[in-house]
Symmetry: C2
Subunit: 488 residues, 2 copies
């Protein structure tokens, strides 16, 4: 080969030679619309004139970025764990110091810089187990079934990894709700599994429907091997909180149809609507009696990123596995060991979430005040969002019963749909892109989460500060009317 031929070669790794499964991955929450929002922010900084002065990012459940303050106690303990010299300082309350000592004594060399056990620090897993027992009214939890994770996403992907196999008609199918959080579709694409859609019932406040589950499963069995059923409760992007009855039905269905259950419960403290209550899948499973609690396989997921703490950046989380085959569990433990351990500061934070200040401890009052204030404010903003959106002609919004998002239905004029299609864009992407360019508001189109054909939505977080949220909602109202007029 001539020198020239050697050097004028094409790349080894090109779009044509790369992993095709990775190409199939889509993740709308940080997709093209968010990339454009970042560009616009840059243009604004460079002085480009726009019909607005700031981009409002309502695309992602990132509470601190939207001004929510961290819980003081959590951050005091994290500072103490980071720099244990501070244990000698008088500025920290005693309970913060004792929590820091509790965590540090469980770290190698008493340092957060040591690797932990791959499954997570022992004492943190024990604290998680006690938290789950309290939460579920005494249903027992074995710390050996608890795995700490790098956020909930990590746990979910790990579980899917274990489940997926086969080719052709025996390829693993995984049932996910539509609309869904796109981590699921992304992970399934990457793993080459079959995404099996079941639709939430928008007319009934995005509830799960047993007949729809049956339809979806029967359909899927014609071309793949459905093995797992994923549920997000409270719902993302849809904000519903499932009733106890519904959860019971889902568990009976999973038992009957031999499906591994995956319950994404990261919004378990984010329940706002009157009459709604969070029921963990595990608790309901055990209430159904040993026929179910001894057999149905369940993995449930929690995180430090949502609820009242909103500590996304620390990437803390856990999963609990129930009725997992011991041989599979050994494989799971081996698999997580390859990545050594979840980040220790995230593990420490997870410990604080499940082992928060108790009545009588010095930090209790402040902790409760901060927690309650955050959750009340979220409840208020959930209500506000639903109410204002429902005043807009052409927008219909289900109650935001929980989680951090509204997912309203938007009517789009035929001409807009036609124009979008001519551009090769989903109509609600076309709509959201226009809204971003004209108002600076960054939302995620419903097509990024999935929706019934011919319906259109967007996901909007309820996280901006109340003042800003009101401005945002007024702008959405104005834009929607203008858009409707323009394309009618």
């Amino acid at each position: 080969m001539s020198e020239n031929a050697v050097f004028s070669r094409n790349k080894v790794l090109t779009i044509d030679t790369m992993n095709p499964k990775v190409k199939n991955v889509e993740y709308a929450v940080r997709g093209p619309i968010v990339q454009r929002a970042v560009q616009i922010e840059k243009e604004l900084r460079e002085g480009v004139k726009k019909p607005f002065t700031e981009v409002i990012k309502a695309n992602i459940g990132d509470a601190h970025a939207m001004g929510q303050k961290p819980i003081t106690f959590f951050r005091q303990v994290l500072a103490l764990c980071s720099y244990p010299e501070l244990l000698n300082d008088n500025m920290f309350p005693e309970d913060a110091k004792s929590r820091a000592r509790h965590i540090l004594q469980a770290c190698g060399g008493s340092s957060m810089g040591a690797y932990s056990a791959s499954q997570g620090i022992d004492c943190v897993r024990q604290d998680v187990a006690r938290y789950i027992e309290r939460r579920d009214g005494g249903v027992p939890c074995d710390p050996d079934n608890v795995y700490l994770t790098t956020g909930a996403s990590d746990g979910i992907v790990t579980m899917l990894k274990l489940l997926v196999c086969g080719e052709g008609a025996s390829k693993t199918g995984v049932m996910i709700s539509i609309p869904q959080y796109p981590l699921y579709s992304a992970a399934l694409a990457e793993l080459g599994a079959v995404q099996v859609n079941y639709y939430l019932n928008e007319e009934k406040c995005w509830s799960m429907d047993l007949r729809e589950l049956e339809r979806s499963l029967a359909e899927a069995r014609k071309h793949c091997n459905p093995k797992a059923l994923c549920i997000i409760n409270p719902g993302n992007p849809t904000g519903q909180v499932q009733s106890r009855q519904c959860i019971e039905d889902v568990i009976r269905f999973a038992a009957k149809e031999r499906l591994f259950l995956m319950a994404d419960e990261v919004y378990q403290d984010n329940v706002y609507a009157e009459g709604c209550q969070f029921h963990s899948f595990k608790k309901v499973l055990f209430e159904l009696g040993p026929q179910y609690s001894n057999t149905v396989e369940l993995a449930s997921f929690h995180s430090t990123s949502k609820c009242y703490m909103g500590e996304c950046g620390f990437r803390g989380g856990y999963m609990e596995v129930i009725n997992m085959d011991p041989e599979v569990k050994a494989q799971l433990t081996k698999l997580v060991s390859v990545r050594l351990c979840p980040p220790v500061p995230g593990q420490a934070l997870m410990d604080l979430v499940v082992n928060s200040p108790q009545p009588g401890e010095p930090s209790y009052t402040t902790f409760m005040k901060e927690r309650t204030a955050t959750l009340s404010l979220l409840a208020e903003k959930a209500k506000l969002t639903e109410e204002i959106l429902n005043t807009v002609p052409g927008i219909t919004c289900n109650p935001v019963q929980g989680a951090m998002y509204s997912f309203p239905n938007i009517s789009l004029p035929q001409k807009a749909i036609k124009d979008a299609k001519a551009l090769g864009q989903a109509p609600d992407m076309f709509y959201c892109m226009k809204m971003l360019e004209e108002t600076g508001i960054c939302l995620v189109p419903g097509s990024g989460f999935g929706q019934k054909d011919g319906t259109y939505h967007f996901r909007m977080t309820i996280l901006p500060p109340t003042d800003k949220l009101k401005i945002l909602l007024a702008k959405v109202n104005e834009f929607h009317q203008k858009f409707t007029q323009q394309y009618s």
Copy 2:
């Protein structure tokens, strides 16, 4: 189906129905021998009598767990970032405060609790780029080519994910050194790629050999499509530091043979032997001129876990990609966005590593003192380990030029090999297991890293405190002689 049939069903997820690729994963560094070590620790705590009173874990490069102290400055800044109230406190030096402000102003809502950009915080990537430029004598680095990661492992697995595709004879092959760090073999097993072994030359101090690369590649091309070549320098588990000439040869080889280069350089500050120096693959690539620097695709990896900081628990790291096809880069950015972002405390720590105290700043003297003390001590222990091991009849140890491990060759008597095989164990696993049971020393058998057929090794970290390291080496000496006698 009867009620009974419903409930007496087998598990959905069993060892037979799970992902077979996961079953193929092996990770010796936290494998069966470490699990046994943890058990023994528990037995000791419960009062079980053993011929030793403590387990010494020399299986993993976990510096803080072995008593190494964190760098004061790093931990001060992390405490400030965790609890910014401390910025008002007089106990912290001004440079620590200014670094904390630098990091916090780049975080959403000035909080480490916000998600960062998926590629990592902008200012941290800029600081990384400047660090790389300084390290490489001015070779330019574009921050857009820098991706922050969850430890180096995360970056390596992500790159392999992009590269792997095909089936049968067109399946992607990835060349890795033998001995290797088992993350590589584990990731390749999970991805279903072909592991292509090239052997390091133990006789020449574990150097890379061009002819061996050629042999390995030619062999591999008969049954797969080799696309990438991975190098660990300084070496893990083998501790060699590659010469500039060798790196040049490898780059020319990769250019000629169209291989994507992956350079694992996490031990770049861990160079101890006289006459040895760390050369980054990127620097050498650019010194070879534009024919190479404009064409050869390279990803290099660094981490907060090793060198003088040893902050494994924070899971911080970065990768730099050179000459990556822009379309592939867009796919990479999309892929990492699915997992939202690397842990922000780890990103902050990475920033401190690449932007450490400078002459004239208040923390400079202490920082340099701590850094130098740690590296000197490691150099001393590297020498000590090599020297003592080489006094043992039947053990031959190459110089520990860099990294954190010795990987001595051990002669095992035929009877031991036979007994091991009868138990279905690798002979060096049999040896290490016996050593653990009799002395409490936890090492990793060479078979977990790969080695030439018929040779046996173990990997031992040089991290224990000098006193303990001496005891450990004396015990290894004694055990080896006893073992040899017993099986001769």
